[in-house]
Symmetry: C2
Subunit: 332 residues, 2 copies
């Protein structure tokens, strides 16, 4: 995949316009590796270009991603300055994803960098490439075309975006171009071994207990085509695990033989219920399934948030799945 | 890393010498992705060069690797022809690793392709590169230099060797060159999504139940420096899981934060007990720890087999660990 020339020209103009300005780089709440990696990388890139850039997120940086923010912090909302010249968003499909702390301030979004199909093009300048495996891929392409002399910390941040959003180079989004970028980033100082140790060999005992409880909850529906696992509030109390320990657990549901759609239902402390949906094949369109509950995302990875508890939402989900699977069947 | 010119010249001469000959391509027993991938790729390459090549392994191809052998079989020992002109070995550090069915026949090994540090250079022509992340990396380099017009099946076989032997591009062996090769292989038709689906998204419900039971058994010893998980025979009965489902479970013990040594104890159907040992750092020398129980292996990955049950071996293991950790401490 060649880098998009029009985007590259627009990006150069944008960087020029931001020179000397005060810029706030935002990401989505419950940030993942691609979000934090992209926030850190974009902030570091801008600083080198003479922009006064700082990154903020409505949620704290998850423990396993904190190795990325040692040199470039991602601040909490209370540290937000009173005024700024421009807001840039990464990995956010829409304004809601920024979280309530930032949502209202976003009428002035200057630029957005994102790869979600459901992106609403909410910013003045939108760098949205739905063919990209990660927002980090979009940024890496723009930075390389820009001629940016990338340092090892920025390379590692972008590498983490690639490795996490491709599920360790596992998803169908993993193109030859993704591997070419990974090779370039490693040449520039990214270290796959170090990243993996931080990301995947640093599991808390609480998370391990949470995984165990989650696996115990797995149930197969629709002749094994669908696997649903649940995390009621009580599990967080008994395991002492936190919300960030949930990340990636939905992959267990999808990894089962015969399963086409894997689902995780999580009761949040605020009384809401979060659904994470994954499919093996794009034909199973979990973005559409999430849409039934007011959510969205990618065709193979999506989510929703609604008010309610598992006992109430589970049967509604089964009903929605019945219709959805019939729809999918009609398209196969 | 540039491809090794001397090796490339030797390889071309070797291929020329084998033209029209009958060749047997062998791999190690209990074959993994790099072994089967390399056997399939080398066999397919040779056939295109006019060599009558066929692959054999002393053990059957594991279920999750069978997608690699749809077009190029890896046969069992009983199918071995009565005579051949040359034996080629892949991913085998020594003759013993071929298994008893082939070991005796190996006095005539013509060539060997391997990346293990412990390789004994047992063949006439040894293509051993201990800097390579996988035997598939060595073969890919040789094939590309040869000018081989690689087909998608061969590309996928080599890709599987890379992805499995790097632990999904996770280990310290994952260089920029590994990613460059992955990019090339994907360009030639390897499909990361398909490979992952077969390798990692094909988990049986029985295995998932086994993982759940195993996680429930985890216990931390020595102030969290050691994590031990157990699989008593009863667990295989209750979960309906088989021995093949145990593969990789020990990684959960090692992945915990603060843990230096992860251990899995498994009661085998024959009354023996199998111990699998993993460490994050080479200083923790689990090969030495395994040695106390008559086993061995690599400094970060080793194992042993003894007669006994968990209830009896666990306390002996704790005693051995006490001495071993004191020894490690004295070397740090």
């Amino acid at each position: 995949m060649a880098s998009n020339t029009e985007d590259n020209i627009r990006f150069k103009a944008l960087v020029k316009e931001l020179s000397g300005k005060r810029v706030v780089v935002l990401g989505h709440r419950r940030p993942d590796g691609d979000c934090i990696g992209s926030q850190v990388a974009l902030t570091r890139f801008l600083v080198v270009q003479g922009v006064h850039a700082e990154a903020f997120n409505s949620d704290p940086v998850p423990r396993k991603l904190q190795f990325l923010t040692r040199e470039t912090s991602v601040f909490t909302p209370d540290a937000l300055p009173k005024d700024w010249d421009a807001i840039l968003c990464v990995d956010c499909s829409d304004v809601d994803r920024l979280g309530p702390d930032f949502k209202d301030k976003l009428t002035t979004a200057f630029a957005s960098f994102d790869h979600h199909v459901s992106n609403t093009h909410f910013a003045k300048h939108n760098f949205v490439r739905t063919d990209a495996a990660a927002t980090a891929e979009i940024l890496a392409d723009l930075f390389f075309d820009f001629g940016f002399e990338m340092d090892p910390v920025t390379a590692q941040a972008l590498y983490v975006g690639l490795v996490t959003d491709t599920g360790q180079f596992q998803y169908g989004t993993t193109t030859a171009h993704v591997f070419q970028l990974a090779a370039k980033l490693v040449e520039l100082g990214a270290c796959p071994g170090d990243a993996s140790e931080e990301l995947y060999e640093n599991t808390s005992f609480e998370r391990m207990a949470l995984i165990q409880s989650f696996l115990q909850s797995l149930s197969l529906e629709f002749d094994g085509k669908v696997c649903i696992g649940t995390l009621p509030q009580g599990v967080f109390e008994s395991t002492q695990a936190s919300g960030e320990d949930v990340e990636g657990l939905v992959e267990y549901t999808r990894s089962l033989a015969g399963v086409e759609i894997g689902i995780l239902l999580e009761e949040l402390p605020n009384g809401e219920l979060k659904g994470s949906l994954r499919s093996k094949r794009k034909e199973y369109r979990v973005d559409r399934l999430a849409g039934i509950f007011g959510g969205g995302g990618h065709v193979c990875a999506s989510g929703f948030r609604i008010s309610g508890v598992i006992a109430e939402v589970y049967p509604r989900l089964i009903e929605a799945l019945r219709d959805h699977l019939a729809f999918v069947q009609s398209t196969l």
